[in-house]
């Protein structure tokens, strides 16, 4: 049987779809761990980035945190978390939260800064209070870039959760790490395909969410172009 046949055989084997070590359970583990990490990181990072952007203080920190985050290898963060918190789910969770924070801080800061000062002025001139300016004007305009940060972080987290199999945690990375260890290449390849598909699915789903989050008034071609430029020239759009 050729290699493709062996991979297909692995996918068709009912044993690989049952129990705690089966594909459905591992996929759920992977998604639950990633979702929880992104959620907790968002609860920490978004208020910080939005506050820095709103008050305009500490911008240097907000910009540089993702540069620093990029320089620290995720693999190293994970292993350091193991040294600090032992093996299993806890160090994986803490490492993933730590990795997810920087892009969200930077992008929400940039989103808030990119709000046209004239628009802010106009909102104040219309008699809006500070809270209303923040929640009804600045945040809706900043939302697409805030969501871009969440998306960058989420894709990173799904990718790094794969490495967490190395520190005795589950998720889809298990098939890859065990496949490597046992030199079971069909299992390794099947695991890699599932991880790739899951990452792309998360990326596409969040890209859709980002589009939905864009206020109708901003959905012109010029604004998308501007956003793309910001994401490209600024490190925040791209993180490892």
């Amino acid at each position: 049987m050729n290699f493709a046949g062996q991979v297909l055989h692995w996918f068709l084997d009912p044993a690989n779809w049952q129990g705690d070590a089966g594909v459905p359970h591992r996929t759920l583990e992977h998604l639950a761990m990633s979702g929880a990490s992104v959620l907790v990181a968002a609860m920490i990072a978004l208020p910080v980035g939005i506050a820095i952007g709103h008050y305009g203080r500490g911008g240097i920190l907000a910009i540089n945190i993702s540069n620093i985050g990029r320089a620290v290898p995720s693999f190293a963060v994970l292993v350091i978390a193991v040294e600090l918190f032992g093996i299993g789910a806890l160090p994986a969770f803490i490492a993933l939260v730590a990795l997810a924070i920087p892009p969200m801080v930077t992008n929400s800061y940039i989103g808030m800064r990119e709000v046209d000062p004239d628009v802010r002025e106009a909102a104040r001139g219309m008699g809006m209070r500070e809270r209303a300016v923040l929640f009804r004007v600045e945040l809706p305009i900043a939302l697409p870039l805030v969501m871009a940060g969440v998306r960058t972080s989420a894709v990173n987290v799904v990718a790094t959760a794969t490495l967490a199999a190395l520190v005795a945690w589950g998720g889809l990375g298990r098939f890859i790490v065990d496949g490597l260890g046992l030199q079971n290449y069909p299992m390794l390849f099947a695991g890699a395909v599932m991880v790739a598909v899951l990452s792309l699915a998360v990326e596409f789903a969040l890209a859709g969410a980002q589009r939905l989050a864009t206020p109708a008034g901003l959905r012109s071609t010029t604004s998308t172009q501007k956003e793309e430029t910001a994401g490209t020239l600024d490190p925040a759009g791209i993180a490892a």
Partner: protein
């Protein structure tokens, strides 16, 4: 990692200088391999990204597909990409480099296109008025003006690659990542700390070095605050 000290075991410190002193050759070799893997990846990445970027810039029909394909390569997690190559290319440098180069493409191509697109139409108009032919205009006008954006891409790609090289430890390469992996496997903090610190330092130095290079090749941006 298992509650050291409970069984009367000696506490493993974050760094044991005697190990560092006795393993300088190993550390230097890892650092050298790390630099080599990064240079090859970013160099090959640029060789592929420049023509792709030029095509994507000139031809809006292929721009979408080029961004989509490089975007997909960028989204696939590194470990998954290495693992998909492994059955075919084995535990080799080739496997590592195919993966690493793939990751640089999106960053480089996007920045090349953004840089070229940002050249003001009047400037290109003026160049044509002065008699520049298309190739001369590209080489002497468009590309130099796109350098800040292109260099921003090279910096991000380089720093990202330095981080990703550590993951190649799992497929038998790794550079400084092999020290980190060694620390994990032997539950010994010193190589982990040495590998992490050197990797971060390497990324910071590379970023600063490239920023300096950018100043050097764009002397016109140094006067005034236009940039």
């Amino acid at each position: 990692m298992f509650a050291s000290g409970v069984f009367g075991a000696v506490e493993d410190p974050w760094i044991r200088w005697s190990w560092v002193g006795g393993h300088l050759d190993v550390i230097l070799a890892a650092l050298g391999q790390h630099i080599q893997l990064t240079l090859i990846a970013v160099g090959l990445g640029l060789l592929i990204a420049v023509p792709l970027g030029l095509v994507a810039w000139r031809n809006s029909l292929v721009r979408g597909p080029i961004f989509s394909i490089t975007g997909i390569l960028y989204t696939i997690p590194s470990l998954a990409l290495f693992s998909m190559l492994l059955p075919f290319t084995g535990l080799t440098v080739l496997t590592a480099e195919i993966g690493l180069v793939s990751y640089t493409l999106l960053i480089l191509v996007r920045n090349i296109v953004v840089g070229l697109t940002s050249v003001p139409a009047e400037v290109r108009e003026a160049a044509r008025g002065m008699g520049y032919r298309p190739l001369g205009e590209l080489v002497r006008i468009d590309l130099p003006l796109a350098i800040p954006a292109i260099m921003a891409g090279v910096r991000i790609a380089t720093v990202t690659t330095i981080g990703l090289v550590t993951v190649t430890a799992l497929i038998g390469e790794g550079g400084l990542g092999s020290l980190i992996y060694d620390g994990l496997l032997r539950d010994f903090k010193t190589p982990l700390v040495v590998g992490t610190v050197l990797s971060v330092l390497l990324a910071v130095m590379a970023d600063l070095g490239l920023a300096g290079l950018q100043r050097l090749v764009t002397p016109w941006a140094r006067t005034g605050r236009a940039a």
